[in-house]
């Protein structure tokens, strides 16, 4: 079954993004995502900052997914499962041959399932660092 837009975004939210705290010359506290310059949250309190950051990250991921654009992932993160499945799904081909003298019970089937299994999602969700 194909991944839905929402499933892709929820999966991407668990990627271990590089979160970089920042303070502007005006004193605004920010949380940025190193790989995604558009994902920036701001807020006065820690709670506001975290909430705004996640909203911004989700909206950014929404944009990438909506246009089916390639997403710059952090180093070491495996390819996204929906892109792997699309790229390596084998064509439907007979995986066995039957010679004239064989009966159906002689046939052994060896389906090629490489590339069809979905990698397990990240087990540990990324945590937002609390800026000092």
């Amino acid at each position: 079954m194909p991944w839905t837009h929402e499933q892709k975004v929820q999966y991407l939210l668990l990627v271990p993004w590089t979160i970089v705290p920042d303070v502007t010359p005006e004193g605004d506290r920010l949380l940025r995502v190193g790989e995604l310059p558009a994902a920036v949250g701001s807020g006065v309190t820690d709670e506001e900052l975290a909430k705004d950051f996640w909203e911004s990250l989700e909206a950014t991921l929404d944009a990438y997914v909506d246009f089916d654009d390639p997403i710059p992932l952090p180093a070491g993160v495996p390819p996204l499962p929906w892109t792997v499945a699309a790229a390596s799904a084998p064509e439907r081909q007979p995986s066995f041959m039957v010679d004239a003298g064989s009966s159906a019970s002689d046939v052994q089937e060896f389906p090629d399932t490489a590339g069809l299994q979905e990698p397990a999602p990240f087990a540990v969700p990324v945590r937002v660092p609390v800026a000092a």
Binding site: L30, S42, T60
Partner: protein, 92 residues
């Protein structure tokens, strides 16, 4: 061509604290950016453009209604436009 005037003002502005969301959004639209259909949750607005080499640029703004954008939002927008040489008539 008021958007070009606004963009020129932004580029030279040391303290870009007087620009509204609709002004910045107009500039991005004129430069070929578009907003995804899903980008309507909350106040975050993400503008996206794909370059001929396949690179995707996403620029974030915050639609605060009639208020002004934070200076860092304008600085981020200008930096991204400059990084990708998307400012008309500006040498790379």
């Amino acid at each position: 061509m008021a958007w070009r005037t606004t963009l020129a003002r932004m580029l030279a502005d040391q303290n870009p604290n007087s620009y509204r969301y609709d002004e910045a959004a107009t500039i991005l639209r004129q430069l070929g950016f578009e907003m995804p259909k899903t980008s309507t949750k909350g106040s975050h607005r993400k503008w996206r453009r794909r370059l001929p080499d396949g690179t995707t640029i996403v620029i974030g703004l915050v639609d605060s209604g009639s208020g002004t954008l934070k200076p860092w939002q304008i600085r981020d927008m200008v930096r991204q436009l400059r990084d990708h040489a998307l400012i008309p008539n500006e040498p790379e």
